[in-house]
Amino acid sequence: MNLSALVLVAAMRAPVAAEVAPPSNLYAQAVDAADPELAAVQRRLAAVKSLRATFTQTKRMKALARPLRSQGTILVADGLGVLWQVQEPVASSFMIAPGVMVQVDDRGRTRSLKPSRKPMLYRVMTAFVAVLRGDTTSIGREFQLYFHTTSEGWEIGLRPRQRLVKKAILDITLRGGETIEQIEIREPNGDSALIELTAVEQDPEISSDERRLFPG
């Protein structure tokens, strides 16, 4: 974490874990990374190497009377990284690869960020990718795992282990059935972001233009 992130964390003054009611009883019981049902879901997810989807992100913040909605596309390219392209209402794109984060705003201005500078999003995205790949051991180090099946499919919960990360993220919940359908990130102060994926395309064609956006 770098200095500016530390300062902003202090500024956000998140109150210490006032338990926000979980969406379901997912967080009642932690599971082991080796849990068989979790492993089965992970295997199914890991079978898909790459993923392209349309997303709608809904941010609910206490300070805002209405939720903030944005839409775009997301591409998880095997061996390359994650490309997150927001189209509405303000265009921007965001690329994460191991050790690299690049943000391009609607004016075409590029900002290269070291993962150490923006750890929260980097953590969320790498956790997300790790879940997709079935890499429970690596997530298990950073997060406490939770899992259960529901009528619609399954829910995987992640709660951060590190003190500083806990101040910014309460938990990350991934929901899906055949494929991954939702990612919900909740913060200790009650703010939350829900990313809903639709039109999920498994193992899509990745164009050379898109490939060029990734490093290496």
Binding site: L6, L64, S116, D191
Partner: protein, 785 residues
């Protein structure tokens, strides 16, 4: 021959000598008992730069800060591991009393402290980007557009809590800009970890009580540091610890100097002993010779400790070279005594008296001239050397005649016979050939004079091993700290004036950075803008947002910004301006830990701060800056310039000394002999220049000072020969012995790795060789024939 004139003289002289020795010994023991301070700080040898005294004081203070600070970078491990290693290192360093302060894990407080310090001023202390936005007419629209972008960006840098209190992200914007100055600085578990070139380094900073240049500090601090580093490397395999700071250089240099001084001292003594024993074949001369040296040192030490409060280590080291010169008079006496061993002491003395008296006089002039140079250390050396010479001279005059120093022998020893034969041959050289030979020596040197170079850069005088320099370069590259030797001193009546002057200076510096002439700079005003600036920005912000109220309101409506946030913003802008952020508050906050040292505070004529530069690529731009209350300090260049000025002064001094001695020689010996007697010293100087010119060595002030010494000693030889009688075997022997011992003492210096000793020694080595070779020819073959 018996001395019939005053039989009582040797005895009374001897008694006088005894009295002097006892008095000197008493004074010395009293002085030592009172406590003698040996100064080991090399920096105290350097002359004071002729600078404004207040600025000089600030420079001293800053130099002190630089000299007491050490930085340790722990790399080669995972960041979390390196933090643990840093804990271990910091704990070991803290456990020792030599460190005043050890910093590690400061950052835990820094985040919260920075927030507490700046958040209340978020509408007055703005980022550079925001200030530029405010300068444009449609500022409010741009601010809203930026806020919108931030709201919808995938990278979320805010939450409701922050949003309510800073809905347009002024504080977030400022924080981004603030941290940008130090690339790669991250915080892991509350400790500073710097990422550089794909490696991560945990940084521990330690401030010692003593300056790195004091020998005392080197002796106490260096072992503590080495032990702590070893401990960390043992407990954390793979860890690499890099040290930054002056301590390692200073320790290396001082250690080298000490080793060399002992070698030179021991080498000289061994040389003298061997020479004496092999020449005179008797322990008697050796004993008496040692006695004269002991008395020489007694007088030298007494005079120096009485005259000076603190004696520098280098003076004592230099004094070790004195041996070679002081023994000359004894050699002369002994050699003369060898020729006619049945002669009594006083008779021998009478024969050499003129020679050694004038010799001592001219050597004294040579050493005395050293004191005219502005180096504090040289004054001590002059006192030490002159009194040493006096002691040796008095011993020869007062002690030796009293006793039978030379034992009667059947025949003169081998070396004396050889010298006698040699001198006869030298005397036989026809004047024309002698002149030709001497002219040849001169002619060899003259062409090289055109190739002579000078180099006054003090950095040439700093010989550090490449491994230490590499280590320092790596630490510099990782830490990206400022250069402690190049900075601006900004003065003003009060803190605000200083800050405003800094801002004016920074305009120039920003231009240099933009042109690539300067890497970066560090100034307090970057962290604490002047109060007038803060008020101006707050007012501009309020005006801009007021003018663009419709756009802001529309945006708030769009995102559904709660009433608390929007009302909070408008009321804050309309309220009376809060008190500005002050330097004192900033200093007290943990947030200022990296830059606190830049604020000097109150001086005798106001308030001052320092703006430190980093990576000065083109000094001309920096030098061209003039601004009120601002002075530029470049320690390296300042001292180098001082050395250049004094080199030219010393050159004139040397020329003057040569002239004075020439006049004296002519006055004493008449024109012909006088001129011939000057030749060896002139040729000696010419040869030094010649060798340096051909070899491409650059001259500096220390070579000039070496020349003064060469003058004193070479004139000794000339005088010895000028005063010599027809059969001058003993004189040649004495001069040969003197030459060898002098070469040993000073010549050994030429192999020193310490550049200034090396320069000094080389000049003396070359000069003495030439003087020794030419003296008998010039004076006897030419002058006396």
């Amino acid at each position: 021959m018996n001395d019939a004139s005053s039989p009582g003289d040797p005895r009374s002289r001897f008694r006088l000598w005894c009295a002097l020795v006892i008095v000197a010994a008493a004074i010395l023991s009293w002085r030592v008992h009172r406590g003698v301070e040996i100064d080991s700080n090399i920096l105290h040898l350097l002359p004071a730069t002729e600078r404004d005294p207040v600025v000089e004081e600030i420079v001293e203070q800053f130099a002190e800060a630089g000299a007491t600070r050490s930085v340790f970078l722990i790399g080669g491990l995972e960041p979390a591991r390196s933090v643990e290693a840093g804990d271990r290192l910091a704990a070991s360093l803290r456990a020792s009393p030599v460190f005043r302060e050890v910093q590690f894990r400061v950052a835990d407080d820094v985040g919260a402290a920075t927030y507490e310090l700046y958040f209340p001023h978020r509408y007055a202390v703005l980022s550079k980007r925001m200030q530029d936005v405010l300068a444009a007419p449609d500022a409010a629209e741009e601010i809203v557009a930026h806020a919108r972008r931030t709201m919808y960006a995938p990278v979320a840098t805010f939450n409701s809590s922050l949003l309510e209190r800073d809905p347009l992200f002024f504080f977030s914007d400022f924080v981004e800009g603030l941290a940008g100055a130090r690339e790669g600085w991250t915080i892991v578990d509350g400790a500073v970890v710097i990422e550089h070139d794909d490696a991560a380094y945990a940084m521990v900073t330690a401030v010692a009580h003593e300056s790195a240049f004091s020998r005392e500090a080197q002796r106490t601090v260096t072992p503590v540091v080495s032990a702590a580093i070893e401990e960390v490397q043992g407990a954390f395999p793979g860890a690499q610890v890099l040290r930054g700071g002056a301590l390692k250089f200073a320790t290396e240099a001082a250690g080298m100097a000490e080793r060399e001084a002992s070698i030179i001292g021991i080498g000289s003594i061994i040389g003298v002993v061997l020479l004496m024993v092999s020449t005179f074949r008797s322990l008697r001369q050796l004993t008496f010779g040692m006695c004269s040296l002991a008395v020489a040192f007694l007088f030298a030490a007494t005079a120096t400790f009485v005259a000076f409060e603190r004696v520098h280590l280098v003076t004592l080291g230099f004094g070790a070279s004195l041996l070679g010169v002081c023994i000359d008079y004894s050699f002369h006496y002994f050699s003369e005594g060898l020729e006619a061993p049945e002669a009594g002491g006083p008779s021998v003395l009478r024969r050499v008296f003129a020679a050694i008296s004038f010799g001592a006089l001219t050597s004294g002039i040579g050493y005395g001239a050293l004191s005219l140079a502005p180096f504090p250390g040289l004054r001590q050396m002059t006192v030490f050397s002159c009194f040493g010479l006096l002691g040796a001279y008095l011993t020869v005059c007062c002690l030796y005649p009293r006793f039978q120093v030379v034992s009667p022998r059947a025949s003169p020893p081998l070396l004396l016979r050889l010298s006698t034969r040699m001198i006869r041959r030298l005397d036989a050289i026809p004047p024309a050939r002698a002149v030709a030979g001497l002219l040849l020596i001169a002619a060899c040197s003259l062409p090289a004079l055109g190739q002579l170079q000078v180099d006054d850069d003090i950095r040439a005088l700093q010989a550090s091993s490449p491994s230490l320099r590499d280590e320092e370069d790596r630490v510099r590259a990782v830490v990206q700290a400022g250069d402690f030797s190049r900075f601006f001193v900004v003065e003003g009546r009060d803190a605000q004036e200083v800050l405003e002057r800094e801002v004016a200076l920074r305009v120039h510096l920003d231009a240099l950075v933009a042109r690539g002439h300067l890497g970066a700079y560090f100034a307090v005003s970057s962290a604490v803008p002047p109060a007038s600036e803060q008020r101006r920005q707050a007012s501009k912000l309020a005006t801009a947002l007021d003018a663009g109220r419709p756009a802001v309101t529309a945006y708030f409506e769009e995102v559904g910004m709660g009433p608390r946030a929007s009302q909070g913003l408008w009321s804050a802008l309309e309220a009376a301006p809060a008190a500005p952020l002050e330097v004192t508050t900033w200093m007290e906050s943990p947030a200022s830990f990296a830059q606190r040292d830049l604020w000097v505070g109150t001086t005798s004529r106001g308030v001052a701060s320092v703006v430190m530069l980093s990576e000065v690529r083109d000094a001309s731009g920096v030098l061209a800056i003039t601004a009120p209350g601002v002075s530029y300090v470049d320690k390296v260049s300042d001292i180098s310039q001082l050395l250049r000025r004094y080199r030219t002064k010393a050159a004139r001094l040397v020329a003057l000394a040569y002239l004075a001695i020439f006049v004296f020689l002519v006055a004493r010996y008449g024109v012909r002999l006088g001129v011939c007697a000057s030749v060896p010293s002139i040729l000696a100087a010419l040869s030094v220049f010649g060798v340096f010119g051909y070899a491409g060595f650059a001259l500096n002030i220390f070579h000039m000072l070496g020349l003064l010494l060469v003058l004193g000693i070479s004139v000794d030889y000339a005088i010895f020969f000028a005063e010599s009688r027809a059969s001058a075997g003993p004189t040649l022997l004495a001069v040969a012995l003197s030459g060898v011992t002098t070469l040993l003492s000073f010549g050994l210096l030429a192999w020193s790795e310490t550049p200034f000793l090396h320069g000094f020694g080389s000049a003396v080595l070359i000069g003495i060789c030439v003087a020794f070779l030419t003296a008998p020819i010039a004076v006897r073959a030419l002058g006396k024939s």
